[in-house]
């Protein structure tokens, strides 16, 4: 009843026109033993009044980041989103349209996809980006599968263990039955991928080598380490980024020899939303574009101006079926649009200034920890970081977090949450800052640590 426009009388008219006595007659080819005569065991319908009360109560049981000073990151960094973004996203023409398979009536979506692709290409320093991926971890999987098609008949993928553990876990799931071996290269004691160890792991069977920067400890990695290790053996280099603001201040993967960049672009104004939906991305060199997974919008100049349409579609599952470059059907349309709008509002200068705010606050916090003088806390690794660092805790991490929580601070992500049961780095807390953290939050954080 709730969202069905036809009144019972109109439904009866339709039934008469169709020529059946009751609606159940339309289900006549369903075997009787499975056709249910009684309604499903659910509650009676709820009005909006009840929905707001019921689900509002559920929402109230969660700690919205807005009620706390949040230092949670570890792969997902909620930044400011301009107010107009969430409002324009509610325009029905964006919200309630489908994949733009019919370009004449989808120029809006198509232009926005092309813009998203362009932003990603500029940020990563690569030539072609796709219309988005589900999220960062599956984007890494798709990058490896793409590399496998490009290198042909090789059997091994190499990945640094400083890539986010959930990305590694996802990779293991997808590659389990494809006959591809995963070689995970441990980090050096400085928390960064060891160039010699990485190079030693690459051989003639290697499809591609992946590193992440900033890595899971927040440390900046040098892309060229992966590029050199890979290219020496004819393999491809994959760069993973999950804090896209870092690319405003750090040399982009495409300029350092990386062939395929992928990861998570949720930093551009997406709500954290308990981890989804997010917006993955994948970009590559021009020569590889025929193997790029997912949708791709192209631009065609015409006498009436540019027009846009999905293109090179023969890569996709609806045409190639089991020979497709990927089984993916959807992209993250609406949230790629949100990221595009946010990037437009930030612009060239806003990007850099936001990145500088993030960096400066992180450096301030790191410096404060260095000056605590209690001997109980330390920045775990000496290398350069962007907006996140690993805090080594003398006291149990849970106790530190509880003390911070009492001061209205969500103090960070215990490394153990990223890889439950692994027993690794039990004394590390990942602490992220964004432009949303104020100096007084940082000082309060330091005060709590001082209390140990």
């Amino acid at each position: 009843m709730r969202y069905i426009p036809n009144s019972p009388a109109e439904q009866a008219d339709l039934l008469r026109e169709v020529g059946v006595a009751s609606v159940d007659d339309l289900f006549a080819t369903v075997p009787r033993e499975v056709f249910r005569k009684s309604p499903p065991p659910l509650a009676p319908p709820m009005s909006e009044v009840e929905l707001r009360r019921d689900l509002g109560a559920l929402a109230a049981k969660n700690a919205a980041a807005t009620c706390y000073a949040s230092f949670l990151g570890a792969g997902l960094y909620p930044h400011h989103s301009p107010a107009f973004v969430s409002q324009l996203l509610l325009r029905g023409e964006f919200l309630t349209s489908y994949t733009p398979y019919q370009p004449e009536v989808s120029q809006g979506t198509l232009t926005a996809i092309w813009e998203f692709q362009s932003h990603v290409a500029l940020l990563t320093g690569l030539d072609v980006a796709n219309a988005s991926m589900y999220e960062g971890a599956s984007a890494l999987v798709e990058a490896f599968l793409m590399a496998e098609r490009l290198t042909k008949k090789r059997t091994r993928v190499v990945v640094s263990k400083t890539v986010h553990p959930e990305y590694l876990a996802t990779l293991r799931t997808y590659l389990a039955y494809l006959g591809l071996e995963i070689v995970e290269v441990p980090a050096g004691s400085d928390g960064v991928t060891n160039p010699a160890a990485l190079a030693a792991a690459v051989d003639d069977e290697t499809i591609a080598v992946a590193v992440q920067s900033p890595n899971v400890f927040g440390l900046v990695e040098d892309w060229s380490v992966a590029a050199e290790a890979a290219h020496a053996k004819g393999a491809l280099a994959i760069g993973v980024v999950n804090e896209m603001f870092s690319l405003a201040l750090l040399k982009p993967p495409g300029e350092a020899g990386i062939d395929i960049a992928c990861g998570e672009a949720a930093s551009f104004g997406l709500p954290a939303s308990f981890g989804g939906p997010l917006v993955g991305f994948l970009a590559c060199r021009d020569g590889f574009k025929r193997q790029i997974p997912g949708r791709l919008a192209g631009r065609l100049e015409t006498p009436d101006g540019p027009v846009f349409a999905l293109t090179l579609s023969t890569r996709e599952q609806h045409i190639r079926r089991e020979k497709a470059t990927s089984n993916i059907c959807t992209n993250q349309g609406l949230f790629a649009l949100a990221a595009t709008m946010t990037l437009t509002a930030l612009g060239k200068h806003g990007l850099r200034e936001t990145a500088l705010l993030c960096l400066s606050k992180s450096e301030y916090l790191k410096a404060g920890i260095g000056k605590l003088g209690t001997g109980k806390f330390a920045v775990a690794f000496p290398g350069a970081t962007f907006n996140e660092f690993a805090l080594r805790c003398g006291p149990p991490v849970e106790e530190v977090l509880s003390a911070l929580e009492k001061a209205q601070i969500l103090g960070g992500v215990p490394f153990t949450r990223l890889a439950p049961g692994s027993g690794e780095h039990e004394d590390l807390l990942l602490v992220a800052t964004t432009e949303r953290n104020r100096r007084e939050d940082l000082d309060r954080y330091l005060d709590v640590l001082k209390g140990f």
Partner: protein, 131 residues
């Protein structure tokens, strides 16, 4: 009179082959290009690649379809039509001429006996349309 040139043979998968000495030129037929529609991309093998008779040696794409290309004879690729990289529509415009795909050095011509001449191929296409 047949609309297909008499100087070559035709396969049931709609490739044509013209043999001169131990080299053969291969393309797709006018009928095949019409079925496919506007060709937008042709993926061809590397020089020196060796294929068995009937093996897939590349693909040809229109906007919304992909067709595999099969080699009518066993052979080694000695030349590919580089012009198709920028002008894939040559396959549409001149399928039996400028739109050729590859040249191979024939290693076994056993399979040639099984191919059709122009008249037989034309009849084959007519039969296929009726089926």
């Amino acid at each position: 009179m047949s609309s297909y040139p008499d100087d070559r043979l035709y396969s049931e998968s709609h490739e044509w082959i013209r043999v001169e000495g131990d080299t053969a030129t291969i393309g797709i037929t006018d009928h095949a290009q019409k079925e496919l529609g506007d060709v937008v991309f042709v993926e061809l093998p590397d020089l020196g690649e060796i294929f068995d008779e009937g093996q897939e040696f590349g693909t040809i794409e229109s906007v919304k379809a992909v067709s595999e290309l099969f080699l009518p004879v066993a052979g080694e690729i000695v030349e590919v039509n580089k012009g198709l990289v920028d002008e894939p529509n040559a396959v549409n415009e001149d399928p039996h001429g400028d739109g050729w795909l590859v040249k191979v050095k024939v290693t076994s011509d056993d399979a040639l006996n099984g191919l059709m001449n122009a008249a037989a191929y034309e009849k084959f296409v007519e039969e296929e349309a009726k089926a």
